[in-house]
Symmetry: C2
Subunit: 259 residues, 2 copies
Amino acid sequence: MISQKLVKKLADKKYRVETGLFFVEGRKSIFELLDSDFDIVAIYGTSDFILAIEKQLLSLKKEVAGVIQSCISVTEETLVKIGTLKSNNAGIAIAVQKKKVSLEHILDVAKTDIVLVLDDVHDPGNLGSIIRTADWFGVTHMVTSETTADLYNPKTIAATVGSFTRVSVTSLALSEFLESVREHGIPIMGALLDGKNIFDSKTAKHGVLVMGSESHGINDELKQYISDAVTIPRFGNAESLNVSVATAVLLAELRRVHI
Amino acid sequence: MISQKLVKKLADKKYRVETGLFFVEGRKSIFELLDSDFDIVAIYGTSDFILAIEKQLLSLKKEVAGVIQSCISVTEETLVKIGTLKSNNAGIAIAVQKKKVSLEHILDVAKTDIVLVLDDVHDPGNLGSIIRTADWFGVTHMVTSETTADLYNPKTIAATVGSFTRVSVTSLALSEFLESVREHGIPIMGALLDGKNIFDSKTAKHGVLVMGSESHGINDELKQYISDAVTIPRFGNAESLNVSVATAVLLAELRRVHI
């Protein structure tokens, strides 16, 4: 039994690391969780929402009993108290974090498709929005630096709007990772301000795409690994683009040219 | 003389409307403000930052005396107290809001270039990020529904990273506005989930591009005005894209095909 006190603690990375658990808030995200292969250990929800879960599981043709047994009926006030949302008329589900995907598997994916790599994206809202964008453009694997925001931060999970169930995000030491990518002869694209114009250069159909931090771009230490520096051409005067916006424009273009 | 008390009140839309003033926080944004044609009425800053302003004005070849006279030296603690940032080692500048751009002028722009229209974008962070993206892609005029977040909200201003000085944003009743656009025979593009694939359809070189709200897309009342419904093709499983991300992908594509 997961106590209300533990749920509240899971907003804190320290307790997420200690327990291997995390939580998901709100109707839409919990429905996506039910439809995924994440292990759910408990759901605090309003009694209406617990009925809705039962219906949803039936419509998904999933086994109902186990999940319903782990549901605990509480008031909306309790949900707000133990969670992070300002209002929550549905529930909070507690689930088990996924095991890390192996380096070998990620390299295999990068041999035929795009793997998105984030260096130092601190803002969980940006990370979540990027996961959602990756999901839209069919990117299934991401690698993040150890300094990037935590996938299981409640703000990240909320900003993915359910896409955290479909995109695998693995935190790795990026210089070692990119070293391996290079050894395997896989193209390493990177968003830099002085790269080739993405709109009229030949881009790789597969490989990794590295995006840097909100304020400093790609780390100097990592720049040496970039084999294809790319840039979104500027038509006006803004100094830079938000990292989640830049990622979206690049992924859209990579997909467009290789449809 | 603008009192500290009034500055604090300007975080509130009611007082911004009453006074016609707004504030800008932090080094980069204030430097962009100094380089713009906004009228600055006061700057609260650390003494170091006031020296930096003097230098900046000299390097911009701008008149120094007037602005420096309106500078008031305060501590970092005071800046945090009267502003909205968690830390601020630079300053807060109070400036006069711009006059509304006329409908005629906006229609003129839409006859040769893209005017971006936002319906119901509630989140000031999204609005700010969209203004920054518009600035990057050389879009100089935006129109927002009266239900969209306020341009002069401190969160919007911060998220534009200075682009609020270069992109004009006019709040209008959208159905009347789009009625006029249509009467002038100007193309009205709109982002809809069932529009034409933006990657392989002929898009207009000029006209207005309408983006809907984060959760409900373009209002039913406004859909009738859309002459060119466009969609970003989906390669994966996310249900939708963040509105600032979708705007960026569409603007990038409109610029790419008409370079």
